[in-house]
Assembly symmetry: C2
Homo-oligomer: 323 residues x 2
Amino acid sequence: MGKLIVGIDIGGMSIKGGIFDTEGNILHRFVVPTNTQNNGNSIVLDMVNGLNQCLQENNINKKDIIGIGITVPGPVVENKIVLKCINLYWKTKRDLQKEVLDLLDDEYNKNDIIIVIGNDARLAALGEFWKGAGNHYNSAAFITIGTGIGGGIVLNGKVLTSNGAVAGEVGHIHVVDNLDYCCNCGANGCLEQMCAVPGIMRRTFKLLKTSKEDSTLRNYDKEKLTCKDIFDEAKKGDALSLEIVNTTCKYLGIAIANLTAIVDPDVFLIGGGVSKAGDFLINKIDEYRKQYNCISTEQVPILLATLGNDAGMYGAVKLVLDK
Amino acid sequence: MGKLIVGIDIGGMSIKGGIFDTEGNILHRFVVPTNTQNNGNSIVLDMVNGLNQCLQENNINKKDIIGIGITVPGPVVENKIVLKCINLYWKTKRDLQKEVLDLLDDEYNKNDIIIVIGNDARLAALGEFWKGAGNHYNSAAFITIGTGIGGGIVLNGKVLTSNGAVAGEVGHIHVVDNLDYCCNCGANGCLEQMCAVPGIMRRTFKLLKTSKEDSTLRNYDKEKLTCKDIFDEAKKGDALSLEIVNTTCKYLGIAIANLTAIVDPDVFLIGGGVSKAGDFLINKIDEYRKQYNCISTEQVPILLATLGNDAGMYGAVKLVLDK
């Protein structure tokens, strides 16, 4: 049997793992719940136990594992040190690489095994670049739009990281002046404030309140109205919904123009729940970014991400291969 | 004698060259005028002749030249192809690497010599990173503020370039909405529109016209008023001048916040004519970027560039060494 790599995505709800061959084919999967009790103290052990059980069930020799890549929902430096993870209740810096190595038993090749850690959004970018919509390109910027906006940048095939752990925080590109509330990051006017789901909903409720215009959105139970509803009504031609979508795409267009002026990737990849609006979203972003982009770069494609929630695992595996 | 590297900076007015050792010490200099007649057809030959003459005058054996790095004021791809250079009247794509190699005589090591071409602002960034204010850092973003705004990004010691030749175009970061005129790049709301000298002057004249406020700027002959005057009067406390400077620094702060969210360099370097305003400028930019930056990154230093017009030559030499 060939050499194997483990990709693990630690999220706030569950820990998802996969056993991959070195070509990036997923052979087996495992999932364990994320236990955030006691400051998330058992998470790393639960993860290693989940991995061990998966290997045992599939009769895989631990010696065949050449590397383990792990994503966490927080800032990471040097591919090993996790600064904090609010959603995991990890409040202080920890050397996750060492912790994982210490928890592996002696049946693993402990002297040679590669253990690398990365931020979840950054590694999702790397995953999409490697095995998703970015796989024909040399560089990519990934924007994932959900309850927040995350992302990452891949340049010459390598995911961009920084000593400050901030590189690739595309959700915190400044896109608008003078908002009357701050972003979670402490700044004001971030893309995430305008275009993540809470921002879209906030703008929608405000517009429904201030506008006297008729709108099919007014037929919805306000408590149950979703972002998907807004995009669906916009597609059907509801003017007020369309205004919300247009504003969303304008700010995404500005962010893309800034990513172009700064790193100029060969492709933009859009993922996350909001990206389910599909080509309707992509075409509108493309329309707006042309107003803000240098003329010469208008043709850089904007594509929908394809790996969904698996992107992080793929990226974790690629990070092992890049070591 | 040790091996030598040539760094050449082709500008719209003159071609500046230097003979460097491999440590980056400049040993000899030469300058020839830039002849833009006949679509700048003689520029490359004039440059090679200037180099040959400098080597002869200093009794340097052409065989000792291991590489030639050249900057041009236009977009470059693959460190060899110049797409165009408006200021040199080069209107079409040319393989400058091949042109230079063809013009070298057989006394050069034509089989081994490294010839690399780069954009002037990008290589100035690399030069400042290597031998200027950035020389204790691992990554840097350089912003040069003059009649335009240029710059470049150095990551892990290497200057960032892209297939689209746009990476590092920090002057075209989007910082403001709804300007009533377009940027030279075709977009709207670029940093260069607000903060390069013409933008600063435009805002100043507009404010002098629309404001009724008293100002020491009104004592100047309008035809002779300079950017330096505005910064000098702001330093002395003139409120209207201060407003112009504050707006300038606000938009530079936004650009720096965006550079942080996207590439998160270890240091920011500010150069160009406007940077002669010194710490007064730097401190104000620092003040404003804190409003737009993720909290964790407020401490990334902002420093004045130190190499002045030599930065490009140094960067050209470093690009040779990086090959």
